[in-house]
Symmetry: C4
Subunit: 274 residues, 4 copies
Amino acid sequence: MTEHEVSGSRAAVRRLVEHPVFQWTIIGVILLNAVVIGLETSSGSMDRYGDLISTVSWVTIAIFVVEIALRLYAFGWRFFRDGWNVFDFLVVLIALVPSAGSYSVLRVLRVLRVLRLLSTVRSMRLVVGALVATVPGMASIAALLGMLLYIFSVMATQLYGNIDPEHFGDLGKATLSMFQITTGDDWAAVVRPATDAEPSAWGFFILYIVLATYIVLNLFIAVAVEALDRETEESNEQLASEMEEAMDDSTAEVLAAIADLKAQVASLETRLGD
Amino acid sequence: MTEHEVSGSRAAVRRLVEHPVFQWTIIGVILLNAVVIGLETSSGSMDRYGDLISTVSWVTIAIFVVEIALRLYAFGWRFFRDGWNVFDFLVVLIALVPSAGSYSVLRVLRVLRVLRLLSTVRSMRLVVGALVATVPGMASIAALLGMLLYIFSVMATQLYGNIDPEHFGDLGKATLSMFQITTGDDWAAVVRPATDAEPSAWGFFILYIVLATYIVLNLFIAVAVEALDRETEESNEQLASEMEEAMDDSTAEVLAAIADLKAQVASLETRLGD
Amino acid sequence: MTEHEVSGSRAAVRRLVEHPVFQWTIIGVILLNAVVIGLETSSGSMDRYGDLISTVSWVTIAIFVVEIALRLYAFGWRFFRDGWNVFDFLVVLIALVPSAGSYSVLRVLRVLRVLRLLSTVRSMRLVVGALVATVPGMASIAALLGMLLYIFSVMATQLYGNIDPEHFGDLGKATLSMFQITTGDDWAAVVRPATDAEPSAWGFFILYIVLATYIVLNLFIAVAVEALDRETEESNEQLASEMEEAMDDSTAEVLAAIADLKAQVASLETRLGD
Amino acid sequence: MTEHEVSGSRAAVRRLVEHPVFQWTIIGVILLNAVVIGLETSSGSMDRYGDLISTVSWVTIAIFVVEIALRLYAFGWRFFRDGWNVFDFLVVLIALVPSAGSYSVLRVLRVLRVLRLLSTVRSMRLVVGALVATVPGMASIAALLGMLLYIFSVMATQLYGNIDPEHFGDLGKATLSMFQITTGDDWAAVVRPATDAEPSAWGFFILYIVLATYIVLNLFIAVAVEALDRETEESNEQLASEMEEAMDDSTAEVLAAIADLKAQVASLETRLGD
């Protein structure tokens, strides 16, 4: 087999794996696999249709293995340059590890195969890309929120650890309680024992709620502003190019009139030269 | 009766159904019908004023039937081209189906007649149109949220189904529990049994809350950005047309000055030609 | 007393009531009155300092009466043309009605005197004006939300009134329960009895939560877009005037050059004419 | 030691404290100190590693003292002109006050040392600066919210203080209950006793929820609009400078053409002059 033949068959395989029908088939298999994983959690359906479910499960995994193998053959080592490909490879790899014994936690990770939808459907890839792109813009504010949570958790442990050991007994419990207060879920019940024993605790917790709400709000706004800024930049660029085109037209018109005048003066010059 | 007479009476009916007084009357009837439907739920008022309520109810339905019949006559088959008309037709049709026996669920749907306000009041129609128009823009992010919900529900069933069967016993219960956690309602109480038995569950649920909050936030922002973008586009177009007008004025002024100069040179030319 | 003297004393009183020192004094009296109203709710402080509190209360009301009388004298009937003035007048009037007997509910309304801060502090007036101005822009969406609430409340009464009479027994209870679900407070506990008896109720309530959240979100966005639009319009106007100025400068420069050229041609013409 | 030598050594110290390696070391020490403060809250880890933790704690404080001393020496009295420096100074000072006896509350404040991250990490400083800068813009709306809270708390005390003394017994309790209602946490449970005794209370509390939500929403929007406005201004300025550059180019081109024409006319003039 010559090198040319290899690359020829590689190109054929690449055409295959990039064909829309192939990709829609894979999306269908991913969805079928998602349903099967859901059914596997139900002991009722496993009792009745266990054999069928297991068979379909193994067939879908076999299809995934063949698909990854084809893509590996088509793209060679360049396959691993794209993060999404590496993701697909790992997810399928997990499916092949025996789930018995100490690897049983891997069984839980199998549902991550559903995430292959993200890498396979183009619009999903774009959305995830956009979501990940906004993360750095909020890193500083998220760190600030974490710092606030840590400081108030330490203080709550020192101040209310003895009064209400259930919620603030150690730093771990206090951090979880403060996180719950941050989400606004049932916070009045969480702080009740501490505030009943020491009314000044109201000031502590209300200060935390106001500060945390304000920082979370600014976290949200940072994400929104970034998203809007991208849109504004785009529409401003469009506006600028539209205006510049209009300006170029106007300049061209004026220059044409001047050129016309110049020709007139030149003809006058020629006549004088006569 | 000639064809001309028919189209003449059709035009008259159309003028009638499109007349503001007719439309405001229908809006009044819809509101009256809404009140009646509300009163029908109260056994107290049904005992005392049952006959009156039934009478008013049937009169309003009769008015709806006549109105739809008039609009059908006025517009013919084109009536069904507008989705809102089809909606009105179906809502009135439901009112005519006997509510006894196996159709009793239709009785519940009668309250949908209140939705006729959406099709009849113009500003409502615009608002609903705008709300529906933003749906496609959030489809990808909503799908992502659904995927996250499914993956974490499956994992919660596998990991905590035995520990806390009430909340995570099967995939259905787990999905409802995770949905409740997504809305932030009483999530600490939902996860308490699982986290008490296995403290590592805190990591699982907090990861889910952070991811789900982030995706919901981006869902909100996607809607807001779309709405703002429409406004920005409009105001940018206005700005552009304003600027182009100013530019056209300026260009016209310059061109007039050049034309004036040209005339001057032309008169010079004529004099030289003498 | 001549008419001129009257208008002279009126002008003097107007200068007085519009003087910053007078206005700051009134703001101080409003704040003092607010503190007194707060103290009056405490039986402890009333027992000990009741006489002092009553005295201060009556002195502040006397000051309000004198102030309103001065402003009435200064502005005459035009006083009632400004809504804020009417508001001040009514609030002070309530203070003068005897609180005993059947008018005791007016006693509760006395705290509205604190709202005089809104009419007296200029920046507060602006904020309230801006808040009220955004109301019409959200009227349609608010009506849509009200309609959704009504439709689902009627349906909930019909479907779950017998199953869970505590939450959905009549239309009033059902509306309050659905409002609570709209605010997201403890909704899982509200729907629990209905969903335990009829699991399909999950679909009903989740549909409502998704629809209501979506409409509330759009209500928020409508307010935000209006606020942003005002800002964008302003900054666009500024941009437009800046650009037009630059364009005028540029046009003037070009026209000056053409005028210069014209003069040159004119001098040429003169020379030829010689 | 001459003055020149002093300022020479000062400059050397300043170079040291401004060196990135020095600053990253301090950030590391702050993080280590944060961990130590966390460990000090755990009696378990104090029992086992108490000596080590105390030693590390004192070493980190010693490093802070030396660092502040170096910065004080390097910058002299100008050190106190920067608010962040004053903050660092106070935080370290608190660490040196003996924590025994009546000063034990200072022990709780030691966790504020973690806040030195804000003053030391540049991006944190910027974020905190931006957060603080948006506060004045929301002062009026925050005051409005406070006024609403106060008015409704006074009214709730007067109206429902006897019915439900637990939640509305005095102004303090009522204010806390209304604050809890504002955050939306478990509000239905808070108002239940009052609404059970007096159904009209539903109107009171729902009015408060709607007003408070509307004001909080506008508080959020005020912050968002301010943030977006800054961005819009920036991108508009960029657009304006881009457009003005394009306009200048266009003007220069036209002026060059006119100048060219002028030269032509001038040469014509010269020839005529011959």
